[in-house]
Amino acid sequence: MRTGNGGRRMGEINGHTVLFLFFGILACLFSLAVVFSANVVRMAFYLILALAATSGLHFLAGADFVGTMQLVLYVGGTLVLLVFGVMLTAQNPFISLRTAGGDWIVAALVGGILLVILVPVAFQIGLPPQDAGDIEGLTQREAVASSEPVSVPTATRIGLGLLGVPGDDVSGYLLPFEIISIHLLVVLVGAAYLARAKRKVVVRQESQNSAGS
C-alpha cells in the first residue's frame, strides 16, 4: 500500500493515480453496462466485474480488510447467489425483457437530476482546504487524518472495534455487531423457510384415503 507522500505533488502521474483511473473507469463503465445491457446473463457478468473493480478501489483507499470482504462476500457469495437465480429463471422469454421507451425517458431524467445534484456536492466537500496551517483546535481524529498516513493493516483494529474496544480512530460497535449477527441468523432461517420444497398436499390426502379404506 502506498503512502500519500508521492501524491502531494501536483500534476504528477504516479502508480496510485494510474491504478485509481484503471479501477475507477472500469467500475463506472461496467455499472453503466449493467444498466444498458438487456440480457440478464450479461448483466450478472458485468455486475461481477463492476464489484471486483470496486474492491480494487477499496484497496487503493487503504481499506484492505473491507476490500477483501468485498471480494469474498460480495463477488464470491452474493453474486454467486444472484447467478444461481439467473440460471434457475432464465427461460427464453425472460432472458431479455425489453423496457418501454417512456420508462427509459423518465429514468434518464431522474438519473440525470441525481447526477447533477451529486457531482457538485462531491466537488464542494471533497477538496482539501486551502490553508493547511490551521491545526489548532483539531480533535484527535482530525489530527490522525491530517498527519502523514502510514500503512497499517486494519483488520486488528476493525476486529477490536467490533468487539467494543474503542481505539484512537474507531468507536465501539459491540451492540450493532450483535444485532447484525442475530439479523443474519434470522434472515438465513427465513430464506431457507421461503425457498424450501413444497410438500405435495394431494399425495398426503391420497395416502390418508388409502390408509382409511
Binding site: M1, G4, R8, M10, E12, H16, L21, C28, S31, L32, V34, V35, V40, T54, L57, L60, A61, G62, F65, V66, L73, Y74, G77, T78, L79, L81, L82, F94, L97, T99, W104, A107, V110, G111, L118, V119, V121, A122, F123, I125, G126, L127, P128, P129, R141, V144, A145, R157, I158, G161, G167, D169, V170, S171, I180, L184, A191, L194, A195, K198
Partner: protein
Amino acid sequence: MFDLLTQPVGLTHYLIVGAVMFVAGAVCMATKRNALGVLMGIELVLNGANLNFVAFGSNFLERNPAYQLGLDGQIISLFVIVLAAAEAAVALAIVLNFYNNHSTVDVDRADELKG
C-alpha cells in the same frame, strides 16, 4: 471541473465514482423488468454508498481533515456488505417463489395485490 486528471487522487474522485455507481443502480432499479435486474440495481446502489463510506474513512486521500470518519467508515461498510448479503438471500427466495407460482419473473406482472 476538468482538472481532476491532473490532481492527486482525492476524496472527490471517489465520490464521483460512487455517484456514478449510485445513479446507474437507481436507473437500473427503475427500468429493468426482470426482478433479478432490480436486485442487481440494488447491489449497485449499495456499492456506491459503500465506496463513499470507505473514501470518507480513508487516510490515503487528499481531503479536508474536517470530514474524517476514521475506521468507523470501514466498519459501517462491513455492516452494509453483510446486510446486502442478507437482503439478496431473502429477495432471491421471494423471486424464486414468485417464479414457481406464476412462472414469470416480470415485475410488471406481479400486480395481484392491486385493487
